[in-house]
């Protein structure tokens, strides 16, 4: 409990500092000016969401390999947190694109891939909601999760072959790419802050899922016992 409070305080401090750094410490971008500052949260949200989706995949594979229900808890928690971060990215993206590109949205490779990714993990969550049996839900949604994860590179590749407008990667993008060192440091802080928020939410969600599972098990045990008692009572009455 105490370590959790410390972690929450630490992440909260990091978020405040990241906000300050993105608004006041990072240098002004030459052509985009203040609008560009959304970049620090846009990119950081992507990093957090892709990490979360990768955790979903790892949890899915681990569940299928071990059949330990804890991996299923991790899978659903990471998927929910990932979809939340992905939604942040999908909202901040158009807000940035409108003043800079002049359009809210374009069907470019990375945008399309992310949009499909978002749809895939929403359908993963939807599927889970519609499967009632616990172990069947875990198994079937894990299979779907693996298929969804395999699909992501194919979606990207197909859109890459097809049409693209999003800027080329500015990090590790070869010659002529790269950003101001202060900017990349600020981005690092923002990424850490959002990653921290993501992990905190993930841990909380995991705990909630475990409690739900335990509550369901207890409820079932109570039901069984009540049914037993009633059958004994009715036998006694006879």
């Amino acid at each position: 409990m105490k370590s959790r409070m410390i972690a929450t305080l630490f992440v909260a401090g990091l978020v405040f500092f990241a906000g300050y750094a993105a608004l006041f410490i990072a240098p002004d971008e030459r052509t985009m000016h203040a609008v560009q500052r959304i970049f620090y949260f846009h990119v950081a949200a992507w990093m957090a969401s892709f990490t979360a989706f990768f955790v979903v995949f790892v949890a899915n594979v681990a569940y299928l390999g071990t059949r330990r229900i804890e991996w299923d808890f991790l899978g659903v928690s990471a998927a929910e947190v990932g979809v939340a971060c992905c939604t942040i990215g999908l909202i901040t993206g158009p807000l940035w694109a409108r003043p800079v590109w002049g359009i809210w949205w374009t069907w470019d490779a990375r945008l399309t891939t992310t949009f499909v990714l978002w749809l895939l993990y929403i359908s993963y969550l939807l599927l889970r909601g519609l499967l009632d049996d616990v172990s069947r839900r875990a198994t079937l949604s894990a299979v779907f999760g693996v298929f969804a994860f395999l699909d992501v590179p194919l979606v990207y590749l197909s859109n890459r072959l097809w049409r693209t407008q999003h800027p080329q990667p500015v990090f590790f993008g070869g010659n002529g790419s790269g950003v101001d060192p202060t900017m990349s440091r600020v981005l690092l802080i923002c990424a850490m802050a959002l990653m921290g928020v993501m992990i905190l939410a993930l841990v909380d969600r995991y705990r909630l899922e475990r409690l739900r599972y335990e509550a369901a098990e207890l409820r079932e045990a109570v039901e069984t016992r009540r049914a037993d008692r009633e059958s004994i009572a009715s036998r006694g009455a006879r």
Partner: protein, 224 residues
């Protein structure tokens, strides 16, 4: 029994079941036809316009029809728990899945073979000289659709609202297949038809990736 032999027997069973009533085939073909006709109201079906929209329309029709057709693939095994009987048979889980995939492939291919000529007539697209290459594109695209669709039909069969769920699971996954199939078809409908090998290779890759994945994961789909 080898997987291939078991799958062949299951394929024969599926075909016999379907061709007794032909319900699924009729409704799928009719549905695709309705989509094709509805599209003709949405835009002018001249030869030039058809070159632009035709491939997309054709594949959207196949996708919708496919999701409709794949729906009962596993769901109809449930009413008498015949899947339980299949599970008890001394055959591999993949054989069950493969038999279903082959059957769905046959159904959808038959439906496509009926729809494409009608489409060509209604939309002024000449199939002369491209029929063979179009068949290759259709085959590769249909394999991908059927492989993922059969797996997801096994998943959604256990869920509530399964009729609604299958398209929701299937369509996002099929986004890359749709792009590749439409582009490959468009290259054939062009004024100077040419087969786009890059997209063809992509379709083949899609089929291999998901066929391998379903081979690896089939036991989880079939289990109790």
């Amino acid at each position: 029994m080898t997987t291939a032999r078991a799958a062949a027997i299951l394929l024969a069973k599926e075909l016999r079941l379907e061709f007794r009533t032909r319900e699924l085939l009729y409704s799928t073909v009719l549905f695709a036809l309705v989509v094709v006709v509805l599209f003709s109201f949405a835009f002018e079906p001249t030869a030039a316009e058809s070159r632009r929209y035709g491939p997309g329309l054709l594949w959207i029709a196949f996708l919708f029809a496919g999701s409709l057709m794949l729906q009962p693939s596993f769901a109809r095994e449930q009413s008498n728990d015949t899947l339980g009987a299949l599970r008890m048979a001394p055959i591999s889980g993949f054989a069950i899945l493969l038999g279903k995939m082959l059957a769905n492939f046959v159904f959808l291919s038959v439906a496509e073979a009926l729809i494409v000529p009608v489409f060509a007539v209604l939309y002024n697209v000449s199939l002369a000289g491209i029929a063979g290459r179009l068949a290759v594109v259709l085959t590769l695209g249909t394999v991908g659709l059927v492989v993922t669709g059969t797996v997801f039909s096994a998943i959604s069969a256990h869920a509530r609202m399964r009729e609604l769920l299958l398209p929701l699971l299937l369509f996002p996954i099929l986004a890359p297949l749709l792009i590749a199939a439409v582009e490959a078809t468009a290259s054939l409908f062009a004024v100077e038809p040419a087969l786009d090998r890059a997209w063809l290779a992509f379709l083949g890759g899609f089929d291999i990736v998901f066929l391998t994945a379903s081979w690896l994961l089939c036991d989880f789909l079939i289990e109790e």
